[in-house]
Symmetry: C2
Subunit: 479 residues, 2 copies
Amino acid sequence: MSEQQKNDFTEWYLKTIQQAELMAYSPVRGSIIFRPDGFELWEHIQEEFNKFLKTQDIRNAYFPMLIPKSFFMKEADHIEGFAPELPWVTEVGDEKLDEPLALRPTSETMIGSAFSDWINSYRDLPYEINQWANVFRWEKKTLPFLRTSEFLWQEGHTAHANESDARERTMGILDEYARLAEEFLAIPVYKGQKTPSERFAGAVDTYSIEAMMQDGKAVQAGTSHYLGTKFAEAFDITYLTKENKHTHVHTTSWGMSTRLLGSLIMTHGDEKGLVFPPTVAPTQIVLMPVGPWKKNPAIMEKLDELFAKFKKAGYRVRLDDTDNSPGYKFNEWELKGACLRIECGPRDLENGHVMVKVRDLDEKNTVTFAELEDYVAEQLQIMPKRLLEKARARNKANEHYDINTLAELKAHIEKSNAEGTVPGFVLVGWDGSEETEAKIKEETGFTTRNIPFEVPMEKEFDLVSGKPAKYTLWIARAY
Amino acid sequence: MSEQQKNDFTEWYLKTIQQAELMAYSPVRGSIIFRPDGFELWEHIQEEFNKFLKTQDIRNAYFPMLIPKSFFMKEADHIEGFAPELPWVTEVGDEKLDEPLALRPTSETMIGSAFSDWINSYRDLPYEINQWANVFRWEKKTLPFLRTSEFLWQEGHTAHANESDARERTMGILDEYARLAEEFLAIPVYKGQKTPSERFAGAVDTYSIEAMMQDGKAVQAGTSHYLGTKFAEAFDITYLTKENKHTHVHTTSWGMSTRLLGSLIMTHGDEKGLVFPPTVAPTQIVLMPVGPWKKNPAIMEKLDELFAKFKKAGYRVRLDDTDNSPGYKFNEWELKGACLRIECGPRDLENGHVMVKVRDLDEKNTVTFAELEDYVAEQLQIMPKRLLEKARARNKANEHYDINTLAELKAHIEKSNAEGTVPGFVLVGWDGSEETEAKIKEETGFTTRNIPFEVPMEKEFDLVSGKPAKYTLWIARAY
């Protein structure tokens, strides 16, 4: 982290995403405008996940956004969990509606109702659908991308003949979320199971991928739920087995959202601004003339030629031929997270080369025109892995395994504050009680992230009660 | 049109789209569920239009769905036009909101407010943005795809330095809408200008493409608006000219929506069900074994091989190896609008060929394995043009030029009803008065579609008043 980020990470974040024109505030509380560079990040994530869905024969559909109140009432845990955050449409034009309609916070109820019409026999199973949609959760504290009243997401909903098929889908999706986060977005994640208090409202089990931001705080970056037969019972989703028996299906649901954009920015950004892997970067290559280029038309000719070549090869490339000074341009494109900057001035042209700066490396390299295409391809190929490794190393340094009591946790936090380090993720023992989770939260602001599938080290005792630990889990402050 | 379509076109439409699983009704009045095949049609339209946007450097963004009431009040015509159809969020959780929030029917106000922040200098112009979004208009009479309370669309919003640039964009988009309708969807359209009474609420000029359905009724399939400086004045969108003068921008907006899906179905469908051009068809090729294929495993081996080959070549292909009878399968895939059906039975395999049925042609053809790939490519290539020509010929037959008085129009309609033909599009003279439009609508249900850019024949007198005609325009019944 840079000094600026250390001093006030949130301030750095808010300043950067606005200056870089990823977003703008909207007149509606907690809602944001996704400006083109911000929205494009999401479009690339959509493309990538749609590719995966195709391999799984899971098709996209679109369900109505407004959900009748009566639908919500059918699954008790579900309405209890979402009620406080639901915006309600109560009027149309001048007329009051007979039944209020909620703006969907998620679509289990709407899709459950449809599944009950569409699923009849074991031959219809698995029944698997995905939807890209806007959803609404009126949260008290909001932060652009990470917690907004309206956000964009995908929500997958599947129905299966039995628990094992449903659980397999639940875990398969979590694996894909982790792959997408790590390979595509270069965000290392922690896979695991949520504790009961952090479960999705209405789920039997919730699994998550958690990402660690540069300030050590967590972002829940994707969740996959095994819903058992709860929604099947609430919405009467049954099928006829081979033995001609009416049986409830087992359902799953899973979602990842524009929160990922926040994670992306907070994982890779630096004091100069945004850093994106080329997989999602709106600008992969920016070309610019330097030196007295206006007197030397051959420079722009060369850059136009390179621009056309890169464009044709499918790169997201821009040519900055504005009158701004080189320094201004450097800053602007670093702020916006362009992966590669290619400069060409009179002397470069004479010598048959360009200068190339890779966004996340310090040095500038001289690259001949002959080598340029290969160099660009190679650099863009390497960059996601390098960013992932860098983030992984930082995560490792911010993981803490030697904290065994609440007092030690408090001391750790105080020490971090005093030293200007980040408290990070802390691995602790847990006796399985809600009291422990509540106490930790109350006294430190840390919350349970998840129970990792691969526990790096078994903890013997509960952090708070000192009783034998039933689970070992990650706790952290979270966005 | 088939007998079934002639008898009750709407009944045929509603039955077909449900049986073919394009859509399902939702529990919310006038909203529908886009099932995978229905949604996929929209996805292909999105891909096609996104390609165009890229060539124009118009980027996608996403703006909040909820619009404060005060925003609507700023442009008088706009609120007047939309007020009766607006759903309002008035509560969140248990709390009443200070200001009601409308579910967007369109986003001129939200985007106008943002433009006023983002546009400062002539260097920022043109400022051009597109958004894919769900929008809400609580219409009294609804019909799946064609008129629903919630629908999906794209809305483009652009700001320009002057009227001529803005008008150029307005018309360029209309041209692209027409190209997309005709070349991509095989729907012939009538380009022209809307009359003042049919203008978008807040526009200076509205232009449309109108499509004629098989029952002779019109669908407004896309509109492009020149908004002048109306929204710029309401939202204070100004820029500094080269001469350092604060000046209002000229804005445009333009949209096409999931109504296009309705047009697609009503233009090409027949008594067997859906007919789609391969450009958008969810299934371009369906392979199926026929005859005693279960005893002859070589058949499925061959079909698996063909399936893999077509899939690899990028076709949307399915293999129907269910136990259903060939007749059942034929019906099902014709209903769903698969473009090509390829059958292979024992004798076919022996003779080294398959039978191929093209959805919109009557005969089945024998095609050798060696020729199959070329044959498929060629057939899919030809199909959109053939569908377009067929629709064009039908349109021509349903255009009427010789109706010069209201009495003649009424007689024409009566004759059509008596003969079971469709009244179609009628070209009439218009003196420019709202009275004429109102009278035509009241007495015949016909509405003005648009004033065509290329008038096929100038009309001398107004249909109702008999006064000299200032314009020649198309009238028709419309969805």
